[in-house]
């Protein structure tokens, strides 16, 4: 399974997003309220467990973490 699909599956399942919501890859997870402050910790733990990457303090920015698209790009850059 490609990284984007893994990320999407995690977001949809862990944050119980019904298929009918049609969450776009570019939707902001924080602004839509799907992910809250503790939920962001769950996202980071998922990335570290699944992709064996370490998320540094200075990488915790919306450009890396706030949408399925951004997360996927961030993981690709880290693993690449």
């Amino acid at each position: 399974m490609d990284a984007k699909q893994l990320v999407r599956d995690f977001v949809m399942t862990n944050f119980y997003v019904p298929d009918s919501l049609a969450l776009a890859d570019t939707s902001s997870l924080l602004a839509t309220g799907i992910v809250d402050s503790t939920g962001m910790l769950e996202v980071i733990a998922f990335l570290e467990d699944t992709f064996s990457v370490t998320v540094n303090e200075d990488e915790m920015v919306p450009g890396n973490l706030d949408s399925i698209e951004n997360i996927t790009r961030f993981v690709a850059r880290k693993s690449g």
Binding site: M12, T13, N14, F15, Y16, V17, P18, D19, S20, L21, S28, L30, A31, T32, G33, I34, V35, D36, S37, T38, G39, M40, L41, E42, I44, E57, M60, V61, P62, G63, L65, D66
Partner: protein
Amino acid sequence: MCGIAGIVALQESAPAPDRDLLVRMAGSLRHRGPDEFGIFRDRRAGLAHARLSIIDVATGQQPMASEDEGLWLVFNGEIFNYVELRAELVALGHRFRTQSDTEVLIHAYQQWSDGCFERFNGQWAIALWSRADRRLVLCRDRYGVRPLHYVEHAGSVRFASEIKALFADPGVPRALDSEGLAQAFTFWSPLAPRSAFAGVREVEPGHVRTYQDGRVTDRAWWTPRYEPDAGLRTAGDAADAVQAALANATSLRMLRADVPVGSYLSGGLDSSLIAALGREVVGSRFQTFSVTFEDAEFDESGHQRAVVERLGTEHHAIRISGRDIADVFPQVVAHAERPLLRTAPAPMFLLSKLVHEHGIKVVLTGEGADEMFAGYDIFREGRVRRFWARQPQSLVRPRLLERLYPYLARSPVSRSALAREFFGRDLDQAGRPGFAHGPRWSTTSTLQRLFEPSRAAAAERYDPVAELLESLPSGFPTWTPLAQDQYLECRTLMSPYLLSAQGDRMLMAHSVEGRFPFLDRDVIGLANALPDAAKLAGLDEKHVLKQVARAYLPASVVDRPKQAYRSPDAAAFFSRGEPAWVADVTSPAAIAGAGVFDPKAIAQLLGKCRTRAQAGPTSNSDNMAVVGILSTQMLHRLFVEANPAGTALPELRTSVERS
């Protein structure tokens, strides 16, 4: 304190109110008033009453009539200034037969008609039937301490303290209401006039609703005003005035009772101050009651002990585990009669049981202080976000949020770039009503994604926030941002949730009456006339109240950081064994039967909670989602599948029939 109910025909052709139905309605409210039952009935109207005897125990029976029997009344609550009103009415020529506050109400209505309500200092739900002009009057106190629901059905209006009494007639439809659910999954409760049930309404706080010859009127007899009083400008003036008003409000609530009055004591500033003021009134034996938690995260027993030691009260505490909460939660929902997004009402349910077991019928509480004197984080958050909005690119200003939420320092969201996403939404709309509450409402309403498609579509068409903001009082735009936030907090959280779901309903579940000195008429007026700086000085919340409290309480209690009252939420249901009812109300059949939630999303959420039960903190969203689902499913089970009214026919102390 009591339960009231009744039926009034809206058309000449409608049948006379059914006697057995009235008695069943009263019987379904037995927990509110187990001491005596009474009904009145004529061709058009029936009134029913379940009484908890507190004032004039011997002769205060209800329904009560005027001397000429032209007026009949049932009443739940207290008019604390009834002694003063009685003297005023005697001077105007009125003659009294009893010492009860109920009779004062009747004469006050005869003298001043609907103008009587603004003279009352108290907490009430009243139903008054005027036989002469065939007029029904339904009224609630300023902030809706006492509940009053109604439904118009089959040519009549039926009203009652609780919804279950309306369902005593099996002909009244019982279904969950999409708009009420959308409100609950935004504000934490449906807001009057809506309820969680289709067709069931609630008289709004501070409103009077009348029915007469086919005409219905509904108007606010009271609306809060926030207009600073120039006489309260100095800190000393404000503190003196608040001290005097609170002492008087507490004393009225201690002395206007023919039974002993106790006090809740959370260990926080508000209830500790009220207990201290109450202690001064009685001088002798004074009982206080607390909740303590097994889980240290929620427990405040150290602070409770410090206050008890200082005040010398006879103290009782009940220690509560997560499992206790899970076990009583179905009963909690049965009394709350709405979806819940927090378990916090459950410990209050257990606490009123403890009070009842000690023979106490009336307790003071500190409820209302955080709304009147700006104690909540949301007021501070609103102030920080407005300050930030003036320099939206600032990296320093959002970091002020860490002073409000210490947990943020441990969270990636403390990083200013993420904080901007999380707290910085709509910074360009800082001047709009609801700006401070926006993040809370949108975080909660995001959970509506759990609704199944047709409910979600209904929720999509209905915007509870827009409806609220379209119904603001005319003075609202002239108030300061803090006053606007206080108003919205009172209307959306205090009245429907804190005073009702977590207040009246949990107290009355065990026949205990709560009294709220911070919601005294004169305290409200004074608090709303204070300059903002007396309430929220910089980011120091309840500033003036702390000044007052120093004379009464240990410094450790006055100066401690505010701890929001909370209890274990998702963890209560999953971390130490799961009560059987949880799987039962969330089975695929039960989810499909209730028709509220999406089965797959529910399975994902519950699966996550069950596997993560021991694995660290549960997010705020997950906590709200779990409690919201379990309570809504239980509500459907108890109120829609089953009929909550019961069929008991209590023995009547008063039964009056007129043609």
